[in-house]
Symmetry: C2
Subunit: 210 residues, 2 copies
């Protein structure tokens, strides 16, 4: 069986992180989330909190670069982006895994074993999830959700050549409010099985043609 | 078994229409596509070509309305929108079906049996599909694809309160370039089965609680 590399991108509050963890457990393969940040911190020498902050912000692009000392060479954000991409490629090289966030779908877009998933949710259900997880009131949860998604979109759209949250960016998008956490895990497992069957048939057809 | 109402929205060239047709055949339920246009034509008294043209354009919104005789009352596009929504609701009322296009996911958003699907595809593979289907050259196919998707997005974003092509608008989004036509059909069938299982369990839990 070929490797199963599943990247999970998600709207804030959709529960994509929980789904990634449950999926890893169900498939018996590692799920990289906090561990990925630790690895990037180790390789870059920056603190984990700093990585989290910088890996959701951009260097501001060429206009900002014109007016700063970053006009020549890489910004801190650019360096973290490169290290992050390198760590993701190395993890995928090691074998089957689930990777949550960090634009892993873009870093791995040339990997034929990769299945990119995006998890969404209805607004009210995401706000409820954030209120429960972070003990925020309704307005703070909504504000936090909107700002986080904007930061994620800006970061992705700056570094990747695709659009964050657009259906066309991913192989599979699922609404957690419709399916629930376990339902999303099941749907992803179904999708992986379908791809494995297709690959087997392709390999059979290709060997028969030789 | 509860009704299965599947709406298929799609990027132009992704093959969503073919997938809808194959899905209807596989499930043994009607797929409304051209037939839907015929019904809207019948109810509205307009010609089918006129319906197709007008149901992908907007009346221009309030600015346009200020300068036209449509400032009071409905535009032709608005009337067609209302008839189209009514026809879609009536078809869904009749029983299980697949409905391709026509913002059916929005018309049916309060229907608990509805599963909204969006089909995407990689740019080159969509262009190839359009070249084969319409016998266009590469540049014409690309131009036609981009303009059609822009029109579809404008129309949907004007009449619905969601965003066309955004993962968060739909229950399930699939990339046809990854799965192929039959693979998409299989993935949708898997999704329907999962939802039917979930509904059965919900009904069981709810009856046990009583």
């Amino acid at each position: 069986m070929s490797n199963r590399i599943i990247t999970i991108s998600r709207e804030f509050g959709s529960g994509g992180r929980t789904i990634g963890k449950k999926l890893g457990e169900k498939l018996g393969i590692p799920c990289y989330d906090a561990e990925l940040i630790r690895k990037i911190a180790e390789e870059s020498g920056y603190a984990e909190d700093f990585i989290v902050e910088k890996s959701e912000s951009t260097s501001g692009g060429w206009i900002s670069n014109l007016f700063t000392d970053r006009s020549i060479g890489q910004s801190t954000e650019d360096s973290i982006w490169l290290i992050q991409s390198k760590v993701i490629l190395e993890l995928a090289e090691k074998g089957s895994c689930v990777i949550v966030g960090r634009c892993a779908d873009y870093a791995l877009e040339d990997n034929p074993d990769m299945i990119s998933v995006f998890i969404t949710g209805d607004e009210e259900s995401k706000i409820q999830h954030i209120m429960e997880t972070y003990e925020y009131n309704y307005n703070n949860a909504k504000d936090y959700m909107q700002k986080t998604d904007k930061r994620r979109a800006n970061y992705y759209n700056y570094y990747a050549n695709k659009k964050w949250g657009a259906a066309s960016t991913y192989d599979l998008c699922l609404n957690r409010s419709k399916l629930g956490f376990d339902g999303c895990v099941e749907a992803i497992v179904d999708f992986i099985r379908l791809r494995q069957r297709q690959k087997k048939e392709e390999a059979k057809t290709s060997s028969e043609e030789k």
